[in-house]
Symmetry: D2
Subunit: 347 residues, 4 copies
Amino acid sequence: MNFASDNTAPVEPAILDAIAKASSGYARGYGDDDWTKAVERRLAEIFEHDVAVFLVPTGTAANALALAHVSPPWGVVFCHAESHVATDECGAVEFFGGGLKLVGLNGNGAKIEPATLKAALAAYGGHRPHQMIPSALSITQASEAGTVYRTDEIAALADIAHARAMAVHMDGARFANALVRLNASPAQMTWRCGIDVLSLGATKGGALAAEAVVVFDPARAIYLGERRKRAGHLLSKHRFIAAQFLAYLAEDRWLTLARRANGKADRLTEQLTAVGLKPAWPVEANLVFVTMPRALHAKLQAAGASYYVRKSESLNLDSDTVLVRLVTSFATTDDDIARFVALCKKS
Amino acid sequence: MNFASDNTAPVEPAILDAIAKASSGYARGYGDDDWTKAVERRLAEIFEHDVAVFLVPTGTAANALALAHVSPPWGVVFCHAESHVATDECGAVEFFGGGLKLVGLNGNGAKIEPATLKAALAAYGGHRPHQMIPSALSITQASEAGTVYRTDEIAALADIAHARAMAVHMDGARFANALVRLNASPAQMTWRCGIDVLSLGATKGGALAAEAVVVFDPARAIYLGERRKRAGHLLSKHRFIAAQFLAYLAEDRWLTLARRANGKADRLTEQLTAVGLKPAWPVEANLVFVTMPRALHAKLQAAGASYYVRKSESLNLDSDTVLVRLVTSFATTDDDIARFVALCKKS
Amino acid sequence: MNFASDNTAPVEPAILDAIAKASSGYARGYGDDDWTKAVERRLAEIFEHDVAVFLVPTGTAANALALAHVSPPWGVVFCHAESHVATDECGAVEFFGGGLKLVGLNGNGAKIEPATLKAALAAYGGHRPHQMIPSALSITQASEAGTVYRTDEIAALADIAHARAMAVHMDGARFANALVRLNASPAQMTWRCGIDVLSLGATKGGALAAEAVVVFDPARAIYLGERRKRAGHLLSKHRFIAAQFLAYLAEDRWLTLARRANGKADRLTEQLTAVGLKPAWPVEANLVFVTMPRALHAKLQAAGASYYVRKSESLNLDSDTVLVRLVTSFATTDDDIARFVALCKKS
Amino acid sequence: MNFASDNTAPVEPAILDAIAKASSGYARGYGDDDWTKAVERRLAEIFEHDVAVFLVPTGTAANALALAHVSPPWGVVFCHAESHVATDECGAVEFFGGGLKLVGLNGNGAKIEPATLKAALAAYGGHRPHQMIPSALSITQASEAGTVYRTDEIAALADIAHARAMAVHMDGARFANALVRLNASPAQMTWRCGIDVLSLGATKGGALAAEAVVVFDPARAIYLGERRKRAGHLLSKHRFIAAQFLAYLAEDRWLTLARRANGKADRLTEQLTAVGLKPAWPVEANLVFVTMPRALHAKLQAAGASYYVRKSESLNLDSDTVLVRLVTSFATTDDDIARFVALCKKS
């Protein structure tokens, strides 16, 4: 009953197999290999756009490199107050960004609403050079609450940001989960609605350690290679990170795996709802948040269920109630779900 | 005939196998798993010392994290002028270190001599706060020229550094290659001769992407976890980097693989010498440097041989001569060597 | 009618005179002069404590150096959401601090309440190394709203911070204004209630450009000299910044000047209240905040009154009302006040 | 007999007077005042060019802000190995520049020769992204050895730099001293021979604390205001730094003062030469370097002479000889010189 994170899953077998297959003969290091070139071509096809691609081993690296590249040190990056960059990356964006500022915005279901962004920007009125300057918006798709921005919602936010000459970044650690839920194309969910730079995750979806910074205006990516290198994020045996991505993207595997993970979340939601545990927010990706009595939480823990307790500004919980985050992945089994729900039922 | 780098090699089969074996079931992320704990125990045994261990995917990350952790931003890190940190990491140490200064020292065979270090330190005489303050010494073992520091040579350098309250770091991207050549124990080549922090490489030795920062005084490692995280170098599916290390260290595999790589370098050296191409420096690890006529270099390239041309301050080459770096690895074949030497012979 | 800021005032004549007097003969540069040594002694006497003192030309420099020195890059510095460090220094603390994070807390009258700090800290529960670590509290005395922390209020906040091993910093750009209002001794308002490091301002009080970082545990100030130098804040003709401080502190001039500025604020408050403009917060230093109809604001501006319009989260103003900040200084005249109030009266 | 530095001098009386005159009435802070606007206009006239001007209190700040603004963090700034930025600013450029690298070049008389720069650049051959990228050249005029670049020498260096898309910076802490020696116009010695950004010093020439970053392409100065502010270098009572500059530049005072300082250096040189102490390098500004027996040095020290002993790579001194730096300023008296030389004579 492991619902702690999608990163507790193993490597998906086909991706593991691709790593093994790539491990034959010599290949030039640092990205000057055939696998890497193939990933670049494949991503251009998938996104129907010229792209500059930088593979890195972690999502934190992808986010921090992307945001530092589009924001000067005196820039303000707006994000959700509960976003991963704001709460879980130990200040990586601030470090890579030379001391830029992250401003966390509130919003239900870990989504930013256009009016909230507008109001926040209104406080930045050109009191130069005393005030820092709005430089970027970062949204998470799917969000940390398992919700998904609609493409018109993204476009509305991006328009506001672009009107202030800000860059728009998407943290897509769970990009595929959102994509298959919206039934949108990668282009529709990114550059067509105003995304300038994307952190595209494969690790949570089934890879070993593979994320990509995707820049939709390659001219803007100049020197991002230097930035990655001096951050220690250019892998020497680069073919292996590229091979993971190739396998992840091949034969729509990334979409299939995301549909499987989402499906498990739906199943879990349905069964929890049936025993009286309704999700706190719409389940639109592979995360299910439910509030439950502390006693049930204790019982689940005792039975070996693994998950995290979270807090949310937008929920007003009494001290007897906890907010529980349940994450499914391609590796989640129906049996895991059944056992977990059974424990909830009997309570 | 690929002698470009030991990172052009694939993953050693047993290590690849260990990755596959680890890919089963759930495991907690970010290093809170059994594989990681086992690596930590194993390294303590191997080094016969308490250690704090931080696994990271690249050598650049290991070096930059280690040096930034032992040096303040106003510190001067002394290293060889041809060292990897000085020439090939795009300023990673300066970036991680908040703008510290690397001072490159000259020395034959990419090794620093005690007298050179002493002379360099003499210029730092307490002109505070105008002058930066010597904070660390970084030596590379085996060196970028394929030479190896003897343990007494390390001790002599470390004594000089410690007398100035400087930390001593070893870039051990090719640690095992040096170790087996010296026939020393890991303890003898590190903390017993004054090494405070080690970048221990496994990637060049056969892993996919696995390096470790090893701190011999664990109390000194406080907050290095935060430093790694905010640099984006804490892998989420951490069991896989740990599994690589476990397999690398198991059954003396790391030593066996290093002996194999060194043996190929020896064989290459012997055969090249026989055809009149004597190495520029003693071949003590898995790197062979030879000077050759430009015409032979052209011929080798045309025949598909892969290697890098290097420069060295300590060699005075005429314009018709090039310095060639040949790197062997566990994957180098005798056939590769034979074909390469045959081309040299016929010239 | 200049109420824009206390930094629109000229240099107080006695301080100007001290600069002129110091300008005779040679003096060693960079703080190795008699004036500087005298300031250090004088501050130790005034604070009844050993202190390490670092003179700098701006308050931003003092705050950023002080906070960067007591907080690591992965640290969180708590301050009021309307504090100068958070809103008006263009990210200086983040820059000097290597990408640390400022977290702004709300509170009426720009003061932080103990319960608010406690609640904020409760969210930092040791989720290491993902979450940044609380490292410092910065309070402003007098506050940006012209209010003053009582010594027991400071002690209550400092106790909470110290219990979490955080340092406590006071931004004392208007330190003297608070001091004379409380009728406290410098010791009472600082280290006796838990302040570890103080930015002590003289510029707003009458100097040309002179601020001091005062560290109450001199051992903790090690390398702060290097930090200041590499920030470009060590003046070469240092005697002149020291001379300003000496004159500012001599014969209780700093207290006299602060009493005069506070007195003008009291007078302004009294007269504004008499014409129906009551202050938004208690007037405890030399700042007066009043809300007024937009029409009156326009009339005052047209008449040449100089001041800033501010916003505050804690006031809920309709669109016809503006919040006006009026700052008095040692140079404010009764005539300025009379003319300003006359304009308000007639409205 | 104070020859320690030109910063041991007091403030020149006319400049001191200008400070006092500016101290009357209110003025808007942070550079929005008439004095500042007048300085900007005056510098545009003097340089016969549009300029963006940023006043700061120290030369270290001017250099670090200027170089950080024209060089990315992965940039290499070439300078002389004995330049102030490399040896005496405690890593300010590296700090402001986010971890960029300074590469010190050798050259007699603290001047860089074109061939040396070319040779250094040849080592940067596009090994991207492993190697840092040449981004700027910084030359010091007058140099730290008291020598002066001819305008054609500057142009030769600037051409080499510009051919590599590097910016060219001049550290003009002693700009006026060089200018009057060359009998060149400010335009001739800067943008006309390829200088992009200038640190223009007034402090050593007679001001209290006043330096300017002068950018010859104002479009390139965008956000330099933010950079200065977040470094704590925007003075609040800004009229006083501007007033210093105005007085310094008025009535050719800066040139007159520089001629006086240079004249004292010439007189000192002449008299020292007459007693057998010939300068080590041509005396072209207000610095005189002589080598002398250690015994004479001891005698001078005992007699109260104040100066610094320096080292130079380009001189090969035996252990009985010291290299002495003697700096004159507008405040140096003939009596100082006479007493000093008399002591040398008698030896």
